[in-house]
Symmetry: C2
Subunit: 282 residues, 2 copies
Protein backbone atom coordinates (compact mmCIF):
# COMPACT_ATOMS: atom_id res chain seq x y z
CA UNK A 1 0.00 0.00 0.00
CA UNK A 2 3.00 2.23 0.53
CA UNK A 3 3.34 3.76 -2.93
CA UNK A 4 -0.40 4.16 -3.46
CA UNK A 5 -0.68 5.95 -0.14
CA UNK A 6 2.22 8.16 -1.04
CA UNK A 7 0.55 8.96 -4.34
CA UNK A 8 -2.59 10.00 -2.50
CA UNK A 9 -0.57 12.27 -0.21
CA UNK A 10 -1.22 15.88 -0.93
CA UNK A 11 1.92 17.55 0.26
CA UNK A 12 4.86 15.50 -0.96
CA UNK A 13 3.90 12.44 1.05
CA UNK A 14 3.50 14.27 4.33
CA UNK A 15 -0.25 13.87 4.52
CA UNK A 16 -1.76 10.59 3.39
CA UNK A 17 -5.40 9.59 3.22
CA UNK A 18 -7.57 6.50 3.10
CA UNK A 19 -11.26 6.76 2.14
CA UNK A 20 -13.40 3.71 2.86
CA UNK A 21 -10.24 1.64 2.83
CA UNK A 22 -9.00 2.97 -0.51
CA UNK A 23 -5.89 5.13 -0.72
CA UNK A 24 -7.27 8.38 -2.12
CA UNK A 25 -7.43 11.97 -0.98
CA UNK A 26 -10.83 13.01 -2.34
CA UNK A 27 -14.49 12.57 -1.48
CA UNK A 28 -17.70 13.25 -3.40
CA UNK A 29 -18.91 16.85 -3.36
CA UNK A 30 -22.29 15.31 -2.51
CA UNK A 31 -20.96 13.84 0.74
CA UNK A 32 -23.14 15.03 3.61
CA UNK A 33 -20.00 15.68 5.63
CA UNK A 34 -19.18 18.54 3.29
CA UNK A 35 -22.75 19.60 2.59
CA UNK A 36 -23.92 19.85 6.21
CA UNK A 37 -21.09 18.83 8.53
CA UNK A 38 -23.17 15.68 9.00
CA UNK A 39 -20.61 13.51 10.77
CA UNK A 40 -18.06 13.09 13.53
CA UNK A 41 -14.32 12.97 13.96
CA UNK A 42 -11.59 11.70 16.25
CA UNK A 43 -7.97 12.76 16.48
CA UNK A 44 -5.86 9.72 17.33
CA UNK A 45 -2.44 9.84 18.92
CA UNK A 46 -0.34 7.09 17.41
CA UNK A 47 2.94 5.84 18.83
CA UNK A 48 5.04 2.80 17.96
CA UNK A 49 2.54 1.78 15.33
CA UNK A 50 -0.40 1.75 17.72
CA UNK A 51 -3.35 4.01 18.44
CA UNK A 52 -3.33 5.20 22.03
CA UNK A 53 -6.57 4.94 24.06
CA UNK A 54 -8.42 3.48 21.08
CA UNK A 55 -11.29 2.10 23.19
CA UNK A 56 -12.06 5.56 24.55
CA UNK A 57 -12.11 7.06 21.06
CA UNK A 58 -14.37 4.28 19.82
CA UNK A 59 -16.72 4.74 22.76
CA UNK A 60 -17.07 8.47 22.11
CA UNK A 61 -17.49 7.90 18.37
CA UNK A 62 -20.14 5.23 19.00
CA UNK A 63 -22.02 7.54 21.36
CA UNK A 64 -21.92 10.23 18.66
CA UNK A 65 -23.21 7.78 16.04
CA UNK A 66 -26.10 6.84 18.31
CA UNK A 67 -26.96 10.52 18.77
CA UNK A 68 -26.84 11.30 15.03
CA UNK A 69 -28.42 8.06 13.86
CA UNK A 70 -25.32 6.75 12.10
CA UNK A 71 -24.56 3.02 11.97
CA UNK A 72 -22.39 1.60 14.76
CA UNK A 73 -18.78 1.90 13.58
CA UNK A 74 -16.68 -1.21 13.03
CA UNK A 75 -14.01 -0.75 15.72
CA UNK A 76 -11.51 -3.42 14.64
CA UNK A 77 -11.68 -2.15 11.03
CA UNK A 78 -11.11 1.45 12.08
CA UNK A 79 -8.15 0.43 14.24
CA UNK A 80 -6.62 -1.60 11.42
CA UNK A 81 -7.05 1.24 8.97
CA UNK A 82 -5.63 3.81 11.39
CA UNK A 83 -2.59 1.61 11.96
CA UNK A 84 -2.20 0.97 8.25
CA UNK A 85 -1.85 4.67 7.41
CA UNK A 86 0.95 4.97 9.97
CA UNK A 87 3.34 3.04 7.72
CA UNK A 88 6.04 2.78 10.33
CA UNK A 89 5.86 6.40 11.48
CA UNK A 90 7.10 6.28 15.07
CA UNK A 91 4.71 9.04 16.08
CA UNK A 92 1.85 10.72 14.22
CA UNK A 93 -1.66 12.03 14.52
CA UNK A 94 -4.33 10.19 12.58
CA UNK A 95 -7.58 12.00 12.04
CA UNK A 96 -10.67 9.89 11.52
CA UNK A 97 -13.69 11.55 9.93
CA UNK A 98 -16.92 9.57 9.76
CA UNK A 99 -19.79 11.08 7.77
CA UNK A 100 -23.31 9.93 6.96
CA UNK A 101 -22.03 9.43 3.43
CA UNK A 102 -23.01 10.63 -0.02
CA UNK A 103 -26.43 12.27 -0.09
CA UNK A 104 -29.03 10.18 -1.85
CA UNK A 105 -31.25 13.21 -2.37
CA UNK A 106 -31.08 16.98 -2.00
CA UNK A 107 -31.92 18.47 1.38
CA UNK A 108 -31.19 18.01 5.07
CA UNK A 109 -33.40 14.97 5.49
CA UNK A 110 -31.42 11.72 5.33
CA UNK A 111 -33.06 8.95 3.34
CA UNK A 112 -31.76 6.42 5.84
CA UNK A 113 -30.03 4.26 3.24
CA UNK A 114 -26.83 6.33 2.98
CA UNK A 115 -23.57 4.46 3.42
CA UNK A 116 -21.22 6.11 5.92
CA UNK A 117 -17.93 7.51 4.60
CA UNK A 118 -14.83 6.92 6.73
CA UNK A 119 -11.77 9.02 6.07
CA UNK A 120 -8.41 8.51 7.73
CA UNK A 121 -5.63 11.03 7.27
CA UNK A 122 -2.14 10.96 8.70
CA UNK A 123 -0.53 14.13 9.96
CA UNK A 124 3.05 14.58 11.11
CA UNK A 125 3.52 14.95 14.85
CA UNK A 126 3.99 18.69 15.41
CA UNK A 127 7.50 19.70 16.44
CA UNK A 128 7.73 20.96 20.01
CA UNK A 129 8.12 24.72 20.01
CA UNK A 130 9.75 24.92 23.42
CA UNK A 131 7.90 28.16 23.96
CA UNK A 132 5.72 29.17 26.84
CA UNK A 133 2.03 28.40 26.38
CA UNK A 134 -0.21 31.41 26.09
CA UNK A 135 -3.94 31.19 26.73
CA UNK A 136 -6.53 33.90 26.11
CA UNK A 137 -10.27 34.37 26.54
CA UNK A 138 -12.27 34.39 23.30
CA UNK A 139 -15.09 36.77 22.43
CA UNK A 140 -16.55 34.00 20.23
CA UNK A 141 -19.27 32.21 22.20
CA UNK A 142 -20.06 28.51 22.16
CA UNK A 143 -23.70 28.01 21.25
CA UNK A 144 -25.61 25.75 23.62
CA UNK A 145 -27.30 22.66 22.28
CA UNK A 146 -27.60 19.69 24.64
CA UNK A 147 -28.28 17.35 21.68
CA UNK A 148 -24.80 18.03 20.32
CA UNK A 149 -22.92 18.73 23.56
CA UNK A 150 -19.98 16.44 24.26
CA UNK A 151 -19.79 15.15 20.69
CA UNK A 152 -16.81 15.66 18.42
CA UNK A 153 -18.98 16.50 15.42
CA UNK A 154 -18.02 18.25 12.21
CA UNK A 155 -19.77 21.58 12.89
CA UNK A 156 -16.72 23.57 14.02
CA UNK A 157 -17.16 27.09 12.69
CA UNK A 158 -17.15 28.55 16.20
CA UNK A 159 -13.77 27.00 16.88
CA UNK A 160 -12.44 28.24 13.53
CA UNK A 161 -13.55 31.80 14.32
CA UNK A 162 -12.08 31.57 17.82
CA UNK A 163 -8.73 30.28 16.55
CA UNK A 164 -8.67 32.91 13.82
CA UNK A 165 -8.99 35.62 16.46
CA UNK A 166 -6.47 33.81 18.69
CA UNK A 167 -3.90 34.00 15.90
CA UNK A 168 -4.34 37.77 15.71
CA UNK A 169 -4.04 37.99 19.50
CA UNK A 170 -0.81 35.99 19.47
CA UNK A 171 -2.01 33.25 21.80
CA UNK A 172 -1.85 29.48 21.35
CA UNK A 173 -5.33 28.72 22.58
CA UNK A 174 -8.44 30.53 23.77
CA UNK A 175 -11.10 29.70 26.31
CA UNK A 176 -14.69 29.93 25.08
CA UNK A 177 -17.82 30.76 27.07
CA UNK A 178 -21.34 29.40 26.82
CA UNK A 179 -24.49 31.46 26.62
CA UNK A 180 -24.57 32.40 30.29
CA UNK A 181 -20.98 33.62 30.27
CA UNK A 182 -19.67 30.48 31.95
CA UNK A 183 -16.27 29.25 30.71
CA UNK A 184 -16.70 25.86 29.00
CA UNK A 185 -13.41 24.82 27.39
CA UNK A 186 -10.65 25.84 25.05
CA UNK A 187 -11.36 25.92 21.32
CA UNK A 188 -9.38 22.68 20.89
CA UNK A 189 -8.85 21.56 24.47
CA UNK A 190 -10.50 20.97 27.82
CA UNK A 191 -9.74 23.11 30.84
CA UNK A 192 -8.58 22.33 34.38
CA UNK A 193 -8.21 24.94 37.08
CA UNK A 194 -5.77 23.96 39.85
CA UNK A 195 -6.89 25.23 43.21
CA UNK A 196 -4.70 23.79 45.96
CA UNK A 197 -5.47 20.09 46.12
CA UNK A 198 -8.46 20.31 43.79
CA UNK A 199 -8.79 20.16 40.02
CA UNK A 200 -11.88 21.94 38.69
CA UNK A 201 -13.25 21.41 35.19
CA UNK A 202 -16.53 22.65 33.64
CA UNK A 203 -19.46 20.35 32.84
CA UNK A 204 -20.20 19.71 29.16
CA UNK A 205 -23.95 19.26 29.19
CA UNK A 206 -24.76 22.26 26.98
CA UNK A 207 -21.72 22.56 24.75
CA UNK A 208 -18.08 21.53 24.44
CA UNK A 209 -16.37 18.26 23.56
CA UNK A 210 -15.91 15.43 26.07
CA UNK A 211 -12.17 15.05 25.54
CA UNK A 212 -10.27 11.77 25.81
CA UNK A 213 -7.51 13.43 27.84
CA UNK A 214 -10.14 15.04 30.06
CA UNK A 215 -11.54 11.61 30.90
CA UNK A 216 -8.03 10.32 31.64
CA UNK A 217 -7.30 13.25 33.95
CA UNK A 218 -10.60 12.79 35.77
CA UNK A 219 -9.77 9.14 36.38
CA UNK A 220 -6.07 9.36 37.18
CA UNK A 221 -5.69 12.64 39.07
CA UNK A 222 -6.91 11.14 42.37
CA UNK A 223 -3.79 8.91 42.31
CA UNK A 224 -1.76 12.10 42.85
CA UNK A 225 -3.93 13.16 45.75
CA UNK A 226 -6.06 15.55 43.70
CA UNK A 227 -9.74 15.92 44.41
CA UNK A 228 -11.56 16.40 41.11
CA UNK A 229 -14.71 18.48 40.72
CA UNK A 230 -16.83 18.98 37.62
CA UNK A 231 -18.31 22.40 38.24
CA UNK A 232 -19.22 25.57 36.35
CA UNK A 233 -16.37 28.09 36.17
CA UNK A 234 -16.86 31.82 35.73
CA UNK A 235 -14.57 34.18 33.83
CA UNK A 236 -13.88 35.80 37.23
CA UNK A 237 -12.63 32.48 38.65
CA UNK A 238 -10.34 32.14 35.65
CA UNK A 239 -9.07 35.69 36.12
CA UNK A 240 -8.03 34.74 39.68
CA UNK A 241 -6.85 31.18 39.00
CA UNK A 242 -3.40 30.37 40.38
CA UNK A 243 -2.65 27.63 37.83
CA UNK A 244 -4.32 26.13 34.75
CA UNK A 245 -3.93 23.08 32.54
CA UNK A 246 -5.46 22.56 29.14
CA UNK A 247 -5.68 19.05 27.73
CA UNK A 248 -6.06 17.31 24.42
CA UNK A 249 -4.60 14.25 22.75
CA UNK A 250 -1.85 16.24 21.04
CA UNK A 251 -0.88 18.59 23.89
CA UNK A 252 -1.37 16.08 26.69
CA UNK A 253 -1.57 17.89 30.05
CA UNK A 254 -0.36 21.31 28.96
CA UNK A 255 0.61 23.76 31.69
CA UNK A 256 -0.51 27.31 30.93
CA UNK A 257 2.28 29.85 31.42
CA UNK A 258 0.25 32.96 30.59
CA UNK A 259 -3.48 33.57 30.84
CA UNK A 260 -4.74 36.84 29.39
CA UNK A 261 -1.27 38.31 29.83
CA UNK A 262 -0.97 37.24 33.49
CA UNK A 263 1.82 34.84 34.48
CA UNK A 264 0.51 31.72 36.21
CA UNK A 265 2.10 29.37 38.71
CA UNK A 266 3.36 26.09 37.31
CA UNK A 267 2.19 23.08 39.24
CA UNK A 268 4.68 20.22 39.21
CA UNK A 269 1.86 17.73 39.47
CA UNK A 270 1.03 18.42 35.81
CA UNK A 271 4.14 16.57 34.66
CA UNK A 272 3.36 13.67 37.02
CA UNK A 273 -0.19 13.54 35.70
CA UNK A 274 1.22 13.40 32.20
CA UNK A 275 3.43 10.47 33.16
CA UNK A 276 0.46 8.56 34.57
CA UNK A 277 -1.47 9.21 31.37
CA UNK A 278 1.48 8.23 29.18
CA UNK A 279 1.42 4.84 30.86
CA UNK A 280 -2.34 4.38 30.77
CA UNK A 281 -3.15 1.49 28.45
CA UNK A 282 -6.87 2.27 28.17
CA UNK B 1 -18.53 21.25 -21.56
CA UNK B 2 -21.62 19.08 -21.95
CA UNK B 3 -20.07 15.63 -22.03
CA UNK B 4 -17.48 16.39 -19.35
CA UNK B 5 -20.21 17.63 -17.05
CA UNK B 6 -22.27 14.56 -17.76
CA UNK B 7 -19.25 12.42 -16.91
CA UNK B 8 -18.91 14.21 -13.61
CA UNK B 9 -22.58 13.61 -12.82
CA UNK B 10 -23.00 11.07 -10.09
CA UNK B 11 -26.42 9.69 -10.75
CA UNK B 12 -26.71 9.06 -14.46
CA UNK B 13 -26.32 12.70 -15.39
CA UNK B 14 -28.98 13.93 -12.99
CA UNK B 15 -26.59 15.72 -10.68
CA UNK B 16 -23.63 17.54 -12.18
CA UNK B 17 -20.84 19.39 -10.45
CA UNK B 18 -18.23 22.05 -11.13
CA UNK B 19 -15.34 22.59 -8.70
CA UNK B 20 -13.35 25.78 -9.15
CA UNK B 21 -14.55 25.90 -12.72
CA UNK B 22 -13.56 22.32 -13.52
CA UNK B 23 -16.21 19.66 -14.20
CA UNK B 24 -15.58 17.19 -11.40
CA UNK B 25 -17.58 15.76 -8.53
CA UNK B 26 -14.89 15.44 -5.86
CA UNK B 27 -12.99 17.66 -3.45
CA UNK B 28 -9.91 17.11 -1.31
CA UNK B 29 -10.50 15.34 2.00
CA UNK B 30 -8.36 18.13 3.46
CA UNK B 31 -10.86 20.80 2.40
CA UNK B 32 -11.86 22.83 5.43
CA UNK B 33 -15.46 22.65 4.27
CA UNK B 34 -15.46 18.95 5.06
CA UNK B 35 -13.12 19.10 8.04
CA UNK B 36 -14.94 21.87 9.94
CA UNK B 37 -17.92 23.07 7.92
CA UNK B 38 -15.75 26.12 7.29
CA UNK B 39 -17.77 27.75 4.53
CA UNK B 40 -21.10 28.97 3.23
CA UNK B 41 -23.73 27.95 0.72
CA UNK B 42 -26.55 29.31 -1.41
CA UNK B 43 -29.40 27.45 -3.09
CA UNK B 44 -30.18 29.16 -6.39
CA UNK B 45 -33.47 28.93 -8.21
CA UNK B 46 -32.74 28.84 -11.93
CA UNK B 47 -35.33 29.38 -14.62
CA UNK B 48 -34.95 29.91 -18.37
CA UNK B 49 -31.20 29.66 -18.06
CA UNK B 50 -30.93 32.41 -15.46
CA UNK B 51 -30.39 32.58 -11.72
CA UNK B 52 -33.31 34.29 -9.98
CA UNK B 53 -32.53 37.06 -7.46
CA UNK B 54 -28.79 36.60 -7.96
CA UNK B 55 -27.90 39.96 -6.41
CA UNK B 56 -29.60 39.02 -3.16
CA UNK B 57 -27.76 35.70 -3.01
CA UNK B 58 -24.46 37.43 -3.70
CA UNK B 59 -25.13 40.04 -1.01
CA UNK B 60 -25.85 37.38 1.61
CA UNK B 61 -22.84 35.33 0.53
CA UNK B 62 -20.61 38.40 0.67
CA UNK B 63 -21.85 39.28 4.15
CA UNK B 64 -21.07 35.71 5.24
CA UNK B 65 -17.59 35.92 3.74
CA UNK B 66 -16.94 39.14 5.65
CA UNK B 67 -18.07 37.47 8.89
CA UNK B 68 -15.91 34.37 8.36
CA UNK B 69 -12.91 36.18 6.90
CA UNK B 70 -13.19 34.63 3.44
CA UNK B 71 -12.20 36.61 0.35
CA UNK B 72 -14.94 38.60 -1.39
CA UNK B 73 -16.55 36.28 -3.94
CA UNK B 74 -16.35 37.07 -7.66
CA UNK B 75 -20.02 37.64 -8.45
CA UNK B 76 -19.89 37.64 -12.26
CA UNK B 77 -17.79 34.44 -12.20
CA UNK B 78 -20.22 32.69 -9.86
CA UNK B 79 -23.16 33.73 -11.99
CA UNK B 80 -21.49 32.51 -15.19
CA UNK B 81 -20.59 29.18 -13.57
CA UNK B 82 -24.10 28.71 -12.15
CA UNK B 83 -25.60 29.36 -15.57
CA UNK B 84 -23.09 27.07 -17.25
CA UNK B 85 -24.13 24.04 -15.17
CA UNK B 86 -27.73 24.58 -16.20
CA UNK B 87 -27.01 23.40 -19.74
CA UNK B 88 -30.40 24.32 -21.07
CA UNK B 89 -32.40 22.92 -18.15
CA UNK B 90 -35.58 24.99 -18.15
CA UNK B 91 -35.77 24.86 -14.36
CA UNK B 92 -33.32 23.56 -11.76
CA UNK B 93 -31.78 24.23 -8.38
CA UNK B 94 -28.08 25.06 -8.33
CA UNK B 95 -26.33 24.74 -5.01
CA UNK B 96 -23.25 26.86 -4.52
CA UNK B 97 -20.86 25.84 -1.73
CA UNK B 98 -17.98 28.17 -0.94
CA UNK B 99 -15.36 26.90 1.53
CA UNK B 100 -12.15 28.39 2.92
CA UNK B 101 -10.37 25.80 0.80
CA UNK B 102 -7.87 23.05 1.39
CA UNK B 103 -6.26 23.23 4.83
CA UNK B 104 -2.62 24.31 4.70
CA UNK B 105 -2.00 22.87 8.16
CA UNK B 106 -3.76 20.68 10.72
CA UNK B 107 -6.07 22.38 13.19
CA UNK B 108 -8.87 24.92 13.34
CA UNK B 109 -6.62 27.94 12.86
CA UNK B 110 -6.57 29.15 9.25
CA UNK B 111 -3.15 30.11 7.94
CA UNK B 112 -4.73 32.94 5.97
CA UNK B 113 -3.28 31.84 2.63
CA UNK B 114 -5.88 29.21 1.81
CA UNK B 115 -7.57 29.47 -1.59
CA UNK B 116 -11.35 29.27 -1.39
CA UNK B 117 -13.06 26.28 -3.01
CA UNK B 118 -16.24 26.96 -4.98
CA UNK B 119 -18.52 24.06 -5.77
CA UNK B 120 -21.59 24.28 -7.98
CA UNK B 121 -23.97 21.36 -8.25
CA UNK B 122 -27.13 21.10 -10.31
CA UNK B 123 -30.19 19.38 -8.91
CA UNK B 124 -33.41 18.56 -10.73
CA UNK B 125 -36.38 20.72 -9.81
CA UNK B 126 -38.45 18.60 -7.43
CA UNK B 127 -41.73 17.39 -8.86
CA UNK B 128 -44.78 18.97 -7.21
CA UNK B 129 -46.41 16.45 -4.89
CA UNK B 130 -49.84 18.08 -4.98
CA UNK B 131 -50.22 17.08 -1.36
CA UNK B 132 -51.18 19.24 1.59
CA UNK B 133 -48.24 20.77 3.43
CA UNK B 134 -47.75 19.51 6.95
CA UNK B 135 -45.73 21.45 9.50
CA UNK B 136 -44.68 20.31 12.96
CA UNK B 137 -42.76 21.68 15.93
CA UNK B 138 -39.31 20.19 16.46
CA UNK B 139 -37.81 19.16 19.79
CA UNK B 140 -34.36 19.91 18.31
CA UNK B 141 -33.33 23.40 19.44
CA UNK B 142 -31.42 25.98 17.41
CA UNK B 143 -28.31 27.01 19.32
CA UNK B 144 -27.86 30.77 19.67
CA UNK B 145 -24.74 32.39 18.35
CA UNK B 146 -25.06 35.98 17.13
CA UNK B 147 -21.76 35.68 15.22
CA UNK B 148 -23.28 33.02 12.96
CA UNK B 149 -26.93 34.12 13.01
CA UNK B 150 -28.42 34.96 9.61
CA UNK B 151 -25.64 33.23 7.67
CA UNK B 152 -26.18 30.26 5.41
CA UNK B 153 -23.06 28.47 6.69
CA UNK B 154 -22.15 24.81 6.41
CA UNK B 155 -22.74 23.84 10.07
CA UNK B 156 -26.16 22.25 9.64
CA UNK B 157 -26.29 19.29 12.01
CA UNK B 158 -29.22 20.77 13.93
CA UNK B 159 -31.25 20.97 10.74
CA UNK B 160 -30.28 17.40 9.83
CA UNK B 161 -31.42 16.12 13.23
CA UNK B 162 -34.65 18.12 12.98
CA UNK B 163 -35.43 16.81 9.48
CA UNK B 164 -34.58 13.27 10.53
CA UNK B 165 -37.19 13.50 13.30
CA UNK B 166 -39.62 15.23 10.92
CA UNK B 167 -39.45 12.25 8.59
CA UNK B 168 -40.43 9.92 11.43
CA UNK B 169 -43.27 12.27 12.35
CA UNK B 170 -44.56 12.30 8.77
CA UNK B 171 -44.37 16.07 8.32
CA UNK B 172 -42.77 18.06 5.51
CA UNK B 173 -41.11 20.67 7.66
CA UNK B 174 -40.62 21.51 11.34
CA UNK B 175 -40.34 24.76 13.23
CA UNK B 176 -37.33 25.10 15.51
CA UNK B 177 -37.00 27.09 18.72
CA UNK B 178 -34.10 29.08 20.10
CA UNK B 179 -32.72 28.83 23.62
CA UNK B 180 -35.53 30.81 25.26
CA UNK B 181 -38.23 28.68 23.65
CA UNK B 182 -39.05 31.31 21.03
CA UNK B 183 -39.89 29.98 17.57
CA UNK B 184 -37.21 31.07 15.07
CA UNK B 185 -37.82 29.41 11.72
CA UNK B 186 -38.35 26.15 9.93
CA UNK B 187 -35.39 23.80 9.51
CA UNK B 188 -35.16 24.81 5.83
CA UNK B 189 -37.52 27.76 5.64
CA UNK B 190 -38.53 31.04 7.22
CA UNK B 191 -41.86 31.50 8.95
CA UNK B 192 -44.70 33.99 8.54
CA UNK B 193 -47.75 34.07 10.78
CA UNK B 194 -50.80 35.68 9.18
CA UNK B 195 -52.85 37.63 11.69
CA UNK B 196 -55.58 39.61 9.93
CA UNK B 197 -53.83 42.31 7.95
CA UNK B 198 -50.42 41.68 9.53
CA UNK B 199 -47.59 39.29 8.66
CA UNK B 200 -45.40 38.41 11.65
CA UNK B 201 -41.94 36.85 11.30
CA UNK B 202 -39.30 36.22 13.97
CA UNK B 203 -36.03 38.20 14.17
CA UNK B 204 -32.82 36.34 13.28
CA UNK B 205 -30.29 38.03 15.55
CA UNK B 206 -29.40 34.92 17.58
CA UNK B 207 -29.93 32.08 15.12
CA UNK B 208 -31.63 31.19 11.87
CA UNK B 209 -30.91 31.99 8.23
CA UNK B 210 -31.85 35.31 6.63
CA UNK B 211 -33.73 33.80 3.68
CA UNK B 212 -33.90 35.33 0.22
CA UNK B 213 -37.65 34.67 0.01
CA UNK B 214 -38.08 36.17 3.47
CA UNK B 215 -36.49 39.40 2.29
CA UNK B 216 -38.73 39.44 -0.78
CA UNK B 217 -41.86 38.89 1.33
CA UNK B 218 -40.83 41.66 3.74
CA UNK B 219 -40.42 44.06 0.83
CA UNK B 220 -43.39 43.10 -1.33
CA UNK B 221 -46.13 42.20 1.16
CA UNK B 222 -47.03 45.88 1.80
CA UNK B 223 -48.15 46.06 -1.86
CA UNK B 224 -50.98 43.68 -0.90
CA UNK B 225 -51.97 45.83 2.05
CA UNK B 226 -50.13 43.71 4.61
CA UNK B 227 -48.41 45.34 7.55
CA UNK B 228 -45.19 43.43 8.25
CA UNK B 229 -43.69 43.03 11.72
CA UNK B 230 -40.43 41.36 12.69
CA UNK B 231 -41.18 40.21 16.22
CA UNK B 232 -40.50 37.24 18.51
CA UNK B 233 -43.12 34.49 18.27
CA UNK B 234 -43.88 32.02 21.04
CA UNK B 235 -44.93 28.41 20.62
CA UNK B 236 -48.26 29.47 22.13
CA UNK B 237 -48.80 32.05 19.39
CA UNK B 238 -48.10 29.36 16.82
CA UNK B 239 -50.54 27.00 18.50
CA UNK B 240 -53.25 29.64 18.06
CA UNK B 241 -52.22 30.98 14.65
CA UNK B 242 -55.06 31.15 12.10
CA UNK B 243 -52.76 30.85 9.05
CA UNK B 244 -49.06 30.29 8.36
CA UNK B 245 -46.68 30.54 5.43
CA UNK B 246 -43.20 29.10 5.23
CA UNK B 247 -40.81 30.39 2.59
CA UNK B 248 -37.67 29.35 0.80
CA UNK B 249 -36.33 29.58 -2.73
CA UNK B 250 -37.65 26.16 -3.68
CA UNK B 251 -41.07 26.27 -1.98
CA UNK B 252 -41.73 29.95 -2.63
CA UNK B 253 -44.55 31.18 -0.38
CA UNK B 254 -45.84 27.85 0.86
CA UNK B 255 -49.22 27.84 2.59
CA UNK B 256 -49.31 25.51 5.59
CA UNK B 257 -52.35 23.22 5.57
CA UNK B 258 -51.66 21.46 8.85
CA UNK B 259 -49.69 22.60 11.89
CA UNK B 260 -49.14 20.04 14.62
CA UNK B 261 -52.18 18.15 13.36
CA UNK B 262 -54.45 21.21 13.37
CA UNK B 263 -55.98 22.36 10.07
CA UNK B 264 -55.20 25.99 9.29
CA UNK B 265 -57.02 28.59 7.25
CA UNK B 266 -55.65 29.21 3.77
CA UNK B 267 -55.10 32.87 3.00
CA UNK B 268 -55.60 33.70 -0.68
CA UNK B 269 -53.07 36.51 -0.38
CA UNK B 270 -50.31 33.85 -0.30
CA UNK B 271 -50.82 33.10 -3.98
CA UNK B 272 -50.83 36.81 -4.83
CA UNK B 273 -47.65 37.29 -2.83
CA UNK B 274 -46.11 34.44 -4.80
CA UNK B 275 -47.08 36.15 -8.07
CA UNK B 276 -45.45 39.40 -7.00
CA UNK B 277 -42.29 37.50 -6.07
CA UNK B 278 -42.32 35.53 -9.32
CA UNK B 279 -42.18 38.82 -11.17
CA UNK B 280 -39.54 40.45 -8.95
CA UNK B 281 -36.40 40.95 -11.00
CA UNK B 282 -34.11 41.62 -8.02
Amino acid sequence: MSSALAAAGETAGERVALVNGVPQATVSVFDRGLQYGDGLFETLRCEQGRVRWFDRHLARLSAGCARLGLPVPDGPLLRREAESVLEGCPRALVKLVLTRGVARARGYRPTGDERATRILTRHPWPAATGQEFRLGLSAVPLARNPLLAGLKHLNRLEQVLAQRAAASAGVDEVLMCGGDGEVVSGSMSNLFLVQGGTLLTPPLLQCGVAGILRSLVLELAPQLGFAVRVTPLSAQQLAEAPALFVTNVRLGVQAVHWYEGRRLELDARGARLQELIDHAER
